[in-house]
């Protein structure tokens, strides 16, 4: 069956070609058939049916009424548990709804379930989850591939057509890289566009909510629904949210695209360099001016990120102490022992590794050498982009340095795993909006992604360039 788009489905619902119940039953059926992919941490058919019942009684017009959406299990939801894929939050039932999910509920969407992720969003393969790996729906039989991460469950849910869109979060590439691996569209908007209220915190100066969808038009509709100012997040920004979808314009004539030379990295597979060149050629044909730009501090983005993100994580994750919610160890002869055993048994290996490194770089005597140094290099990276955007309207790069790799391939060497984020991390550090769209395939017929970056709060330009490339590729 060919996947229907959100845009088309909204039309079909509107013209009564299909009912909300019929639509969602179709998705429920597929979710149950694809159970082996381990896409969801929480799925309850009963819960979905209840939402359908409620919407059928609701006569008001709503923008996303009846649309099945999957939610990354990092967003607090009142109707479903929230685990962050960690044992330490097993059985946690939030008493409040995240900003982003509340917006989607207000629009009338139906939550089909909570999707799997790397534990506390720390990973690039959805293989650090306490609830097991998610399998990339594009895998061949007996050759399971990773869906990317950390939002691997959400990317896989869209790729396997188990929903019409999904929420994700992106700290260093956690939306864009899995979108690339699963052959779907994924957008991380500007830092501050969507409130972080109710998202389990990983690295607060980098965390940002975003969207997975089948195509760029759908992403533009969904992003508009989750964006907006919120006083409960002090970094949420008051900006006018345009109607991205209505304003979509694939005419790029006269625009300038920046091509950063530092993104040509030794060891990048030929196929990835090839699709990058192909994308540039397509843009050139559309009348886009090609401008070679330099982002000189690009190579320092990853080490900068792997100081700042663990430092913030070590602070954010201090709240999991076995007192207020979640898991508590049985071995509790004293308060300190309770903390130490709860955290030893409740966190997985990668999370502990990042807490330890974060604690080290923040500890007395090392703060200046590591954390402060990283914040200064971060400034230089952000300045690189500011300079570049004086000369171009958007930037085009590959999304990831590889196609989807076999499950568990990169588990043992942390640095090798961190290199997955080489093309996505710089924009995260600079807080810029970025989208990944499927563009070309490798020799094994696996999808590859092109990343488009824009200026702060210029999501419209990012969508316009993306829809233009997408339409020329189809």
């Amino acid at each position: 069956m060919s996947k229907s788009s959100l845009k088309q489905t909204l039309k079909d619902l509107d013209t009564k070609k299909i009912s909300i119940r019929e639509l969602n039953q179709d998705y429920l059926k597929r979710i149950k058939e694809k159970d082996n992919l381990n896409v969801f941490i929480h799925f309850s058919e009963e819960n979905v049916l209840k939402q359908i019942d409620n919407l059928e009684k609701d006569n008001s017009a709503k923008k996303l009424k009846g649309i099945p959406i999957a939610i990354k299990d990092l967003f607090c939801t009142k109707s479903m548990p929230t685990t962050a894929a960690s044992k330490i939050l097993e059985n946690f039932n939030p008493t409040y709804e995240s900003f982003v999910t509340q917006k989607l509920l207000d629009e009338g969407s139906i939550f089909v379930g909570k999707t799997n992720l790397d534990e506390f969003a720390m990973g690039s393969a959805t293989n650090t989850s306490f609830f097991g790996n998610t399998i990339n729906p594009l895998s061949k039989e007996n050759e399971p591939l990773a869906p990317g991460g950390s939002s691997g469950g959400s990317a896989a849910a869209v790729a396997a057509d188990l929903c019409l869109g999904a929420t994700g979060t992106d700290t260093g590439g956690s939306i864009r890289q899995p979108a690339s691996f699963c052959g779907v569209v994924g957008i991380k908007p500007t830092y501050g566009l969507c409130s972080r209220w109710g998202i389990v915190a990983f690295a607060s100066s980098l965390d940002q909510a975003g969207i997975f969808s089948h195509n760029v038009e759908d992403a533009s509709i969904l992003l508009q629904s989750i964006a907006g100012f919120d006083q409960r997040d002090s970094t949420s920004t008051k900006v006018d949210i345009p109607n991205y979808f209505e304003n979509l314009d694939d005419d790029l004539n006269g625009k300038t695209v920046g091509i950063p030379k530092e993104y040509s990295i030794d060891g990048t597979p030929m196929e990835i360099s090839q699709i990058w060149e192909d994308a540039i050629k397509v843009l050139e044909k559309k009348g886009v001016k090609i401008k070679n730009i330099s982002l000189p501090h690009t190579k320092y983005a990853l080490p900068t990120y792997y100081i700042i993100a663990p430092a913030e994580a070590s602070s954010n994750l201090a709240r999991y102490d076995g007192v207020k919610y979640g898991f508590r160890s049985d071995e509790i002869n004293s308060l300190d022992e309770m903390y130490e055993n709860t955290r030893a048994q409740g966190f997985g290996r990668e999370v502990k590794r990042r807490i330890l490194i974060g604690t080290y770089v923040l500890s007395a005597g090392y703060y200046d050498a590591y954390y402060l140094k990283a914040q200064k290099v971060r400034k230089l990276i952000a300045d690189d982009f500011n300079r570049a955007f004086k000369e171009c309207d958007f930037i085009v790069t590959p999304t990831a340095p590889s196609a989807a790799f076999p499950l568990n391939e990169k588990q043992n060497d942390p640095i090798k795993m961190y290199l997955n984020d080489v093309f996505t991390v710089p924009a995260s550090l600079a807080g810029l909006p970025g989208i990944s769209i499927p563009f070309g395939k490798d020799k094994n017929n696996l999808p590859l992604g092109i990343q488009i970056l824009g200026k702060h709060f210029d999501e419209q330009q990012v969508f316009n360039a993306a829809v233009s490339l997408e339409r020329s590729y189809e």
Partner: protein, 95 residues
């Protein structure tokens, strides 16, 4: 080597994470390799560069100083691993 047995024990203690000997050894190896790798930042001249801690350009808006009751303690305590008479319960701290 930046991280030795003493350092890892100190960090683990600060992090309130109990490590067994095998784990300590693994993390000593991991952390040293990560710290060697981030060492390359020292190549960058950051003299007179302001550290960037918040990328957001927004100015914190003021809000009205009004109280609101968003949660009941009862609801919150439902998630607690142990509770007693409307409070979180923990192992005895004072003898």
């Amino acid at each position: 080597m930046k991280i030795d047995k003493n350092t890892i024990n100190k960090i683990a203690r600060l992090s309130r994470i109990k490590l067994d000997d095998k784990e300590s050894e693994d993390y000593i190896k991991d952390l040293n390799s990560i710290l060697d790798w981030v060492e390359q930042l020292n190549e960058v001249n950051t003299e007179n560069v302001e550290p960037l801690s918040n990328i957001s350009s927004s100015i914190l808006p003021k809000r009205e100083d009004v109280s609101n009751d968003t949660n009941s303690s009862e609801e919150i305590l439902e998630n607690a691993p142990d509770k007693l008479e409307g409070f979180f319960a923990v192992p005895k701290v004072v003898e």
